[in-house]
């Protein structure tokens, strides 16, 4: 478990370091995700060495964003002023993207 945490935080640190020193249109944690995938793919690290920590983190992924959701309370004014365009945009755009994605996959997937 400890070793896998070192790997996860190590790749996070690597991603953050690279984006800190070089101007990039991407955040450190997303770069860390891409780098750990590549490291696994090219067998630089082993799946069993990272799996214990990553499984636990994935399991509680949604718990971790609760504080951001609660932070919405400091922006009640935005919701109160713009709830109509927000709702229209979310519903219409999600329905549209759902259909586009599904129809292409249905036509060309096996």
């Amino acid at each position: 478990m400890l070793k896998s945490l070192v790997y996860i935080f190590g790749f996070l640190f690597l991603g953050e370091t690279i984006t800190y020193f070089f101007e990039m249109p991407i955040t450190g944690n997303i770069l860390g995700m891409i780098l750990i995938f590549l490291a696994l793919r090219f067998k630089i690290i082993k799946l069993k060495d990272v799996k214990p920590a990553s499984d636990k983190l994935m399991k509680y992924l949604i718990l971790f964003f609760i504080p951001y959701g609660v932070g919405l309370m400091t922006h009640f004014d935005i919701i109160a002023n713009y709830w109509v365009p927000i709702s229209v945009a979310i519903i219409a755009s999600t329905a549209f993207a759902l259909y586009v994605t599904a129809i292409i996959m249905e036509k060309f997937g096996k």
Binding site: K51, L63, V70, P85, A89, T94, Y99, M105
Partner: protein
């Protein structure tokens, strides 16, 4: 009393226990709107309002919970590696589909808000609404949206996909379960993926992978797409 709530342990404890309680409720009632995150957030907001506690006070502990979003994004890379074998036969089609689906999600929400003459900050806050919250929050921060608003709309897009996605797609004539899974993951991230797993294990895997891929795609293209409009 306010000083007591300033202890970080308050924010940590209420976050974890509200989530645990909400999960128990969901197991009991199993209804789409009983999304555990949604319930937990509403409960905590209610609690803070009733006891007149500031968000900043709560977040002294809350920030220890949200800190783990960073390593969780890295863990998504591990999940992707573990599962991508299962979609290998469809890999090319899958990647292209998610790419187009991801762009449609960003473009359509930006276009609709633009036509409704919504202010710039709102467009920036909603652009990444289809991807998993930790990534959406990072994108929102990068393009100068309001991350808290982004967290809220991501949740809404997830709950919408979870509650109505499969019903809508079946009504529109989609038969392939894999297509439904891919669509749910592309547009409704983890909350949609939970629904995809109810359709079967394979649709669930496609959905989880679509969530990872679209997270990367949306992170890469959103800043450029926004430049076209703003």
């Amino acid at each position: 009393m306010q000083e007591f709530f300033q202890l970080p342990v308050f924010g940590v404890l209420i976050s974890i226990s509200a989530y645990m309680g909400a999960e128990k409720l969901q197991k009991k009632f199993n209804y789409p709107f009983f999304n555990p995150v949604l319930i937990a957030i509403l409960f905590i907001i209610g609690f803070l309002l009733v006891f007149n506690i500031d968000f900043e006070t709560y977040n002294r502990g809350g920030k220890y919970i949200s800190f783990f979003l960073g390593p969780s994004i890295v863990a998504l890379g591990v999940f992707f590696y573990e599962k991508y074998e299962e979609v290998k036969q469809n890999l090319k089609v899958f990647l292209i589909t998610v790419f187009i689906g991801g762009i449609s999600g960003v473009l359509s929400v930006v276009l609709i808000l633009y036509l409704l003459q919504a202010p710039d900050f709102l467009i920036k806050s909603l652009a990444a609404k289809s991807v998993t919250t930790p990534i959406a929050i990072e994108i929102s921060r990068l393009i100068e949206g309001v991350p808290e608003v982004t967290a809220g709309v991501v949740l809404a897009a997830g709950v919408f996909g979870n509650a109505f996605g499969p019903f809508l797609l079946k009504k529109l004539g989609i038969k392939s379960k894999i297509a439904i899974g891919t669509a749910l993951g592309t547009t409704s991230h983890g909350i949609g993926t939970a629904r995809a797993f109810e359709e079967g294990k394979l649709p669930g895997v496609y959905s989880g992978l679509a969530m990872c891929v679209n997270g990367i795609i949306t992170a890469l293209i959103t800043p450029y797409l926004l430049e076209l409009f703003l």
